[in-house]
């Protein structure tokens, strides 16, 4: 257990001193702030533009527009930022050889992998919470009506999806060689999932659904019970990825 804490501490120090934590937090605050602001201001920006006689009818923005922006930002740019920040966490160390000294001291490989995963999930959770709090503050301030359905479940769906992405990074890093191997392979896996998501029948089984139903949940057009299978599958996939990555990592040539 001491190795686990020591390594998590090292992970945090690394994220802080290489400025990655600050970048992630800055992006989180930016998304949180920008989403409701853009929703509110977009109609005014559009109307202020000279459209040469064209008239664009835009309905008064609602709180749903704010959340649509928030979830869109996080599922697209957010996932990308997560991939870039954590994509090299294991691949980089493996290709540089920085783990050799510590593994030669008897630090178990599974400890390395799990503490990297836990550290990444904690950092993601903090960033996500910060983004949501900022977003919530601005939304309450800018919109008169802020009642939405299933808010926490909707947030949870996206959270667990990104946790899944991080576990995918871990698995990819143990499989693919090179410092960008983990990043490229997990990005590839996500693209495949995105392509599969076009098939309606596969929707229930595809973790990517958890990053696309968020607004529908808020509007009440999707129900919580309809997603329990997807959530369960995603949790199983996270566990599966972690176990597989540990098994592969333990037998990896260094």
């Amino acid at each position: 257990m001491r190795g686990f804490y020591a390594f998590i501490k090292k992970e945090f120090l690394e994220q802080i001193r290489t400025f990655r934590l600050w970048i992630l937090l800055a992006v989180a605050v930016l998304f949180g702030m920008m989403s409701p602001l853009m929703a509110k201001l977009m109609p005014e920006i559009l109307s202020s533009m000279n459209m040469e006689g064209m008239v664009i009818q835009i309905p008064e923005p609602t709180v749903y527009d704010a959340y649509t922006q928030f979830f869109k930002n996080f599922t697209q740019m957010g996932t990308l930022v997560i991939l870039l920040i954590f994509g090299g966490t294991l691949s980089g160390e493996l290709s540089k050889g920085t783990l050799i000294n510590l593994l030669a001291k008897g630090l178990p490989r599974r400890t390395v992998l799990l503490s990297k995963y836990v550290a990444a999930v904690i950092i993601w959770t903090v960033a996500y919470a910060l983004a949501f709090v900022t977003n919530y503050g601005y939304t309450v301030y800018l919109f008169p009506e802020t009642d939405v359905k299933n808010l926490f479940f909707s947030l949870f769906c996206l959270w667990i999806f990104v946790c899944f992405v991080i576990s995918l990074i871990m698995l990819s890093s143990t499989i693919a060689p090179g410092s960008f191997g983990g990043l490229i392979l997990s990005a590839g896996a996500l693209v495949v999932m995105l392509m599969v998501s076009i098939i309606p029948k596969a929707e229930k089984f595809n973790p990517i659904t958890l990053a696309s139903v968020n607004v529908a949940l808020l509007e009440g057009t999707k129900s919580v019970s309809g997603l329990t299978l997807t959530v369960s599958i995603t949790i199983l996939l996270i566990l599966g990825s972690l176990i597989a990555s540990i098994l592969i990592f333990e037998k990896k040539k260094l």
């Binding site: 050889g97 050799i100 000294n101 333990e250």
Partner: protein, 305 residues
């Protein structure tokens, strides 16, 4: 007691046989020089001892415990200095040693004590810069500090001096000489003068096998042939001399370098006379007659070359 024991270890990469039925053992409190050409399999052997590579055949024991591939418990006895140690550049040496200490399960006070002992030993006391800005020699010295942190029973150093300038090399060798009192050291290298300076016993790896093994003096005396170096006048026909000398059956090899003639032979004390007699007879002016000290280099070239 044997600290390290390899029995019939073999390793191949694809069709390339790197280690072939390698067996040797290292007794406690000795410095074992592991010598071989580049690509002879020194690093591969060390990685197998650390469980980073799987041996195809044979077994390796550290303090009697069997090494298993992947996670091996035997690593708790071992300190390892890789050929090019890599660190987290954003840490200071002290922070890095603390991480190493925590990872190896030392308690807080012990880590502080060991750090205070080791940093002055490796000449990094008071260096609070980030490791990113370190020179190669400094990284190598920090590498020794991290390897010694847990007071390992066995210290494995993979070519610790190969990439360093003469000053850096001397520093590393001095540190290893100090460490020798407390631990057993395996030290791979192709720099033979380093071996002669600190090793008690050596093993020469060639074509996947240990072709020579024993104490340094023993090997020098039993393996190396004697060499007589003669310096003759500049106007002498060295080629002609060489040709005629080769007629003598006790001479194994002659190397000519300008007006210096190195004559390798079986017993210089006995046959030296014959050579001098030849020079006297031919009236060749000899400026210098010297019996060269046996060196590991000659053994190495003889065995490997």
């Amino acid at each position: 007691m044997e600290i390290l024991e390899l029995k019939n270890v073999s390793k191949r990469f694809g069709t390339l046989e790197v280690i072939n039925d390698l067996s040797f053992s290292v007794p406690e409190h000795s410095v074992f020089g592991f010598i071989g050409k580049n690509g002879a399999g020194k690093t591969t052997t060390m990685k197998m001892i650390l469980g980073f590579l799987a041996a195809d055949q044979g077994e390796i024991r550290v303090l009697g415990e069997k090494v298993s591939y992947g996670n091996t418990k035997t690593n708790r006895h071992i300190g390892y200095l890789p050929d090019v140690p890599e660190f987290y550049g954003y840490m200071s040496p002290r922070e890095y040693l603390r991480l190493c200490g925590e990872v190896s399960g030392l308690n807080k006070d012990r880590i502080v004590d060991r750090t205070n002992e080791l940093l002055p030993l490796v000449g990094l006391d008071g260096v609070n810069r980030r490791i990113r800005s370190f020179s190669r020699g400094m990284k190598q010295r920090l590498g020794i500090a991290q390897a010694l942190l847990g007071e390992p029973k066995l210290l494995i150093c993979d070519e610790p001096t190969s990439a360093l300038d003469p000053v850096g090399r001397k520093e590393i060798l001095d540190i290893l000489s100090l460490a020798k009192a407390r631990t057993t050291i395996i030290f791979s290298t192709h720099i033979l003068s380093d071996v002669e300076r600190i090793c008690d016993s050596i093993g020469m790896l060639h074509q996947g096998k240990l072709v020579v093994q024993g104490s340094v003096t023993e090997i020098k005396n039993s393996y190396s042939t004697d060499v007589i170096r003669l310096e003759v006048g500049a106007e002498c026909q060295t080629d002609q001399i060489s040709k005629e000398l080769k007629q003598m059956n006790f001479i194994s090899r002659i190397v000519i370098n300008e007006n210096k003639i190195d004559i390798q032979m079986t017993n210089a004390e006995q046959y030296g006379m014959n050579i001098l007699a030849y020079f006297v007879e031919k009236k060749i002016p000899v400026l210098k007659y010297e019996l060269l000290e046996p060196s590991l280099e000659n053994v190495f070239l003889e065995v490997v070359g």
